[in-house]
């Protein structure tokens, strides 16, 4: 009898140990239903709940001034093993709150906060650039597709000339060069995150120069890239989330940023007791970046998967600046 009780007690303890993590998440002001970062992060929370049996609470601030209040309320309750901030504009609030609650673990996604109790998750942007660049180069030499012209040119349009975007462009160019089939990559910048009209104009001018696959790494300006491809019937590539629904016949693939997986990774680190207040650079290996299937043909996917394995194994080096691209 005693043995049974002891076994049961051990079981109970074990159960407690398994369902241990409480996680709180503070979304960006767009709130749930944004079809972007917040929704993806929520997916990640749900996934983590299934995988690791965590409990979670979330907050949807309606104003930037509320970030600090929510973060402080969560931290003050001392109930959570991890508090996650979504959205770069939480950096100010998190910097202050993480200093105030030194024993609380925090994580921020797609932004860096340099405090010992904050894990910052950022991305090796050049890796997804490589994948879509390689895919473009493999596509543009096809001959049996009306959306493909005779020229061996592909393009990428950045939002602004900042290191993050240039890493994407450098990856894209490296990917194109890796295909080694004489395809040329051209690039330009919109100089605005939310100017679809100019994005479209630049895309059409690339199209005039012979580009038939164009990637828009330009925030909302990228919508113009997709629009242009729909109008003239060539290929475009979306960014961050699956934008295929915008032009099902023209969006070839998407340079995906898997915020859901990133959230899971952050939570798993805490559960495994591996939390560290440092910068994590995630990429293909962690499935935090990637590409979506959409219109990609089977043979291209096979090639992409081979390249992906090589990148993960460290066999392909991808520079993060355009100057370093050979």
């Amino acid at each position: 009898m005693k043995k049974v009780i002891v076994t049961m007690l051990i079981l109970v303890f074990a159960m407690c140990a398994f369902a241990e993590a409480n996680v709180a998440i503070v979304f960006a002001t767009g709130g749930l239903g944004d079809k972007s970062f917040n929704d993806a992060a929520m997916e990640g929370m749900k996934k983590a709940k299934e995988l690791y049996a965590i409990e979670y609470d979330y907050a949807e601030p309606s104003a930037i001034t509320e970030y600090e209040t929510y973060l402080a309320q969560f931290a003050n309750s001392k109930k959570y093993d991890l508090i996650i901030s979504i959205g770069f504009d939480q950096a100010d609030a998190l910097t202050k709150i993480s200093k105030r609650f030194e024993k609380q673990n925090f994580a921020i996604i797609d932004m860096v906060v340099m405090n010992p109790n904050v894990a910052s998750y950022v991305y090796k942007e050049q890796e997804r650039g490589f994948m879509v660049g390689y895919a473009s180069a493999l596509m543009t030499i096809k001959t049996d597709d009306v959306r493909i012209n005779g020229d061996k040119v592909v393009g990428v349009i950045g939002g602004m000339k900042i290191p993050l975007i240039d890493a994407n462009i450098a990856g894209f160019m490296t990917g194109v060069n890796y295909a080694d089939n004489g395809v040329k990559a051209i690039h330009s910048y919109v100089n605005h995150w939310a100017d679809p009209a100019k994005g479209k104009e630049l895309t059409l001018s690339m199209y005039e120069q012979g580009a038939d696959v164009v990637w828009g790494a330009a925030g909302r300006s990228g919508l113009g890239v997709i629009n242009a491809s729909k109008e003239k019937n060539f290929y475009s590539i979306g960014a961050d989330s699956d934008q295929g629904y915008l032009a099902p016949e023209n969006v070839l693939t998407n340079g995906m940023k898997r915020v859901d997986n990133t959230v899971c990774i952050a939570i798993k680190d805490v559960i495994d007791g591996k939390f560290e207040g440092k910068i994590y650079s995630l990429g293909l290996k962690e499935d935090a970046l990637g590409y979506s299937i959409n219109l990609l043909p089977e043979d291209v996917i096979v090639e992409l998967e081979i390249a992906k394995k090589k990148i993960i194994a460290g066999e392909i080096e991808i520079p993060a600046t355009i100057e370093e691209v050979k």
Binding site: I64, E68, D89, I162
Partner: protein, 341 residues
């Protein structure tokens, strides 16, 4: 007894309206499947339950005092200034830029200058609708609403074009330490701005009760033709009251920049300018009434956060209660009529 009742008539109606709103709110919370007691107790606790919660309530109250006061001032001359949001954005922007570029000045000079510049920016923005109303009769409701968009977008444009901090975020750099309003309690973000707000209430109250100019403005609001007949230049008074109104709305932005955000960020406001209209209505356009109405709305906002976090009741129910308060504030006219029959 009746005299006392008469004197406090407005307050009594407002309080009744608030009570009624909470009663109907209780029914809604119950119907939505939540515990009313838990909802209201976490709401109250979240707003007033601890020193920290109290500071957060007052922090949320400050911008509403300014924007509420701005609407109330407009009403005094019979104008409906819905442009508080745009005036506030320009106030915030101007204060941030002033503080950054005059950062070499000591705090005791810089803080007043940055505040006043923010106020003037709001004034400048409300001058135009006032002027158009006086000269052409263009309805201020239409022009102020339109000016909101122009104001918010102008501030964003100037920010992105000339003053943006390096990096992906549309914001200015941090304003210097000397331009930041000191916190009353560490980490609370409740700053001296609360005293500035109360000070402005006192000034506006005295202005309308004790000064000739304030009286003239009110006369125009009560009866424009009578005012003209008495020799008051009603056009001038309307422009003036719009400018004072804009000044106060600008201060809402200034105090947020100097007390809470410490920089200008696009889209920082959850609609303080518009909530200010509700605050003015509940406060019956009286300066001190605005104070109490702003505290109520600030408390609902702050308590709503705790309610959402710890009682898992959606924030939207708080917004509904805010709406009900306004509805019932408008209703006493009905109640009055019923009582008098």
């Amino acid at each position: 007894m009746i005299k006392i009742l008469k004197k406090y008539e407005n307050s009594i109606y407002s309080l009744t309206a608030i009570l009624l709103a909470f009663l109907v709110g209780a029914v809604l919370i119950h119907l939505s499947g939540f515990s009313v007691i838990k909802a209201y107790s976490t709401l109250f606790d979240g707003a007033f339950g601890s020193v920290f919660n109290l500071t957060q309530t007052f922090m949320n109250t400050i911008p509403l005092i300014f924007t509420g006061l701005a609407v109330a001032i407009g009403f005094k001359s019979g104008l409906f200034n819905i442009g508080g949001e745009g005036q506030m954005y320009l106030g915030a922007f101007t204060t941030a830029i002033t503080a950054i570029y005059l950062g070499f000045l000591p705090g005791y000079i810089l803080i007043p200058i940055a505040l006043i510049m923010g106020g003037f920016a709001g004034s400048a923005w409300s001058f135009l609708p006032g002027y158009l109303k006086a000269k052409t009769g263009a309805h201020e409701v239409v022009t102020t609403i339109m000016m909101n968009y122009i104001g918010i977008l102008t501030a964003s444009y100037l920010l992105l074009k000339y003053f943006k901090e390096e990096g992906p975020i549309p914001q200015t750099v941090l304003i210097p330490e000397s331009a930041r309003l000191p916190e009353l309690i560490e980490y609370s973000r409740l700053t001296w701005a609360i005293f500035i707000a109360v000070f402005v209430i006192i000034i506006i109250d005295i202005f309308f009760k004790r000064t000739k100019l304030g009286y003239k403005i009110q006369t125009v609001g009560e009866n424009r033709s009578a005012a003209e007949y008495a020799g008051i230049n009603s056009n001038k008074m309307m422009v003036l009251s719009m400018m004072i109104s804009g000044f106060v709305a600008g201060l809402a932005g200034s105090t947020i920049v100097m007390g809470v955000l410490h920089r200008f960020i696009t889209n920082f406001s959850p609609g303080y300018g518009f909530t200010g209209i509700a605050v003015a209505v509940l406060g019956k356009n009286k300066p001190w009434g605005v104070l109490f109405a702003a505290i109520l709305f600030g408390a609902l906002q702050t308590g709503g956060i705790t309610m959402q976090l710890f009682a898992k009741i959606p924030m939207d129910l708080m917004v509904i209660i805010q709406g009900l308060v306004i509805l019932f504030v408008a209703a006493p006219i009905l109640i009055k009529k019923l009582l008098r029959k």
